[in-house]
């Protein structure tokens, strides 16, 4: 039986841990030039209490490949990538879910859910739900499918409070929202909006990869400045409070 540690460890060779700082978006950890929020986060409504990207996912690099491949490639290769990504998420939550809870101002999350696919047809068997609902020990007991894609026509990568709808009413419970990739945040913010409007308490999100293109702006220089290998002991939300 493969263990979380041995399946996740090889990823530390290419994972890049986001850290808060000057010229880093306070919402999504995108690199900015002197702004508190990146362009996308200044355009979208912010419904999240906190966001924890586990790693940057750089276009055409290995984590990006894994995050695309586990959904697209099918067969044994996709199954292996799925289990590896589940191990990464498991290890992150085991070490740092309390950081997310603290940043949210709650003691713990009793409910965990995933961002549905933006495309209605793919919503019924979304791979990230398999990871959160079946594979990851720390989430499977708390996982509930709380959201579905609404009938509303929403262009891809566009924030819309009506994009998703809750399947039941909520009663002030804090919710941990999980997705594989954050690009503009439109999906996760739309999902958080739907949960809040259904009565949820604070909603925070964990994503495996915060997508970036290396060739844009100063991204390459900024990414080169990140300490390697990836450090499982620190995360985007705990880095400022540690020794």
């Amino acid at each position: 039986m493969p263990s979380v540690a041995e399946l996740s460890s090889p990823y530390e060779n290419f994972m890049l841990g986001p850290r808060p700082g000057p010229d880093v978006c306070v919402v999504c950890f995108n690199f900015t030039r002197g702004y508190e929020r990146c362009y996308a986060c200044s355009q979208n409504e912010d419904w999240l209490a906190a966001l924890a990207p586990i790693s940057y996912s750089v276009g055409l690099e290995q984590l990006h490949r894994a995050l695309m491949g586990y959904k697209r490639l099918g067969g044994e290769v996709a199954r292996r990538l799925t289990v590896e990504l589940a191990a990464v998420l498991w290890r992150y939550l085991a070490g740092h879910e309390h950081c997310v809870a603290r940043a949210t101002g709650v003691s713990a999350f009793g409910l965990v859910t995933t961002v549905p696919s933006g495309e209605r047809g793919r919503d019924s068997a979304h791979p990230v739900r398999h990871i959160v609902g079946d594979l990851v020990g720390p989430t499977r007991e708390r996982h509930e499918r709380l959201l579905r894609r609404s009938e509303l026509e929403v262009p891809p990568r566009t924030f819309d409070v009506g994009k998703f709808e809750a399947v039941r009413a909520l009663d002030g419970e804090p919710v941990l929202l999980i997705d594989d990739t954050w690009t503009t945040g439109a999906s996760a913010q739309s999902a958080a909006a739907a949960l809040r409007r259904a009565g949820a308490g604070p909603v925070s999100a964990v994503v495996i990869g915060r997508h970036l293109n290396r060739e844009w702006h100063e991204n390459d220089t900024r990414l080169r400045g990140i300490a390697r290998p990836f450090d499982w002991e620190r995360c985007a939300l705990c880095a400022t409070s540690g020794p």
Binding site: M1, S3, E6, L7, P10, L60, R72, P229
Partner: protein
Amino acid sequence: MASALDTAALVVLLRRGRRSPQAYAELVEEAGSAVSVLERDELQRSLFDLDPDLDATVSEIEAWEARGIQLVGVLDPRYPRNLLAVHDRPPLLFVAGSLAPEDARSIAVIGSRRASAEGIAAAKEIAEHLVEHGYSVISGLAAGIDTSAHRAALARGGRTVAVIGTGLLHSYPPQNAELQKLIATEGAVASQFWPQAPPSRRSFPMRNAVMSGISLGTVIVEASLTSGSRIQARLALAQGRPVFLLEALLEQEWAQELATRAGTHVVKAPREITATVERLTAAEPLSA
């Protein structure tokens, strides 16, 4: 099998395109066709000379096929599945012989060109063990360790695949031309380079990424400080693939450093390699 026209479009893209091979691999996968990526790219320039180019390329591909060279692009079902999962996959492989779906269960066995007698024997023992356990043996057709691994796999009636650093119309080293033919008959010889491409400084490290990407893991049998095997170890780890170092390598400082990296396993016996790969790839629930 991808259509002849789509394969020709991929060839034209790679020859004329201004993006990296990896970027084209991704664009073609996303679009589901090389023709549509080519049309999109060419629209920004002039489209009028595209058709004769494609026709000429279809003929060129037929001429390669007549010499026993198959073109296998990322959309082709014959493209190695493990290789699809890595960031540095080439958009197009040239193949002599035939890639088989069972080559997905494979391990690369590599090492120095100037190998010791112990190294040659260890490579042979590992390759035999792999064949007995149903693995294809992947290697780079170089002198020394690679040759020993390929030959041992063939002698045991196993599958072996050579990933070479030149075009398929070359043999490097020249004395392995005969072995290259034999592997093409029994298994496959694969190259990401144009068939006429000579060996170059850049080509060997590039093929190391492919050798690693095709395999579930890479075993380094014997290597010196300057060996290409070290490059493959680095590339394999960057793909998230395990690297196995034979214990004797730890006499060298670079190997001690490599052994500290996540994903590197120091092994004494061949069965430790297959046991680790079986565990890492087992279709079982994760354990904390």
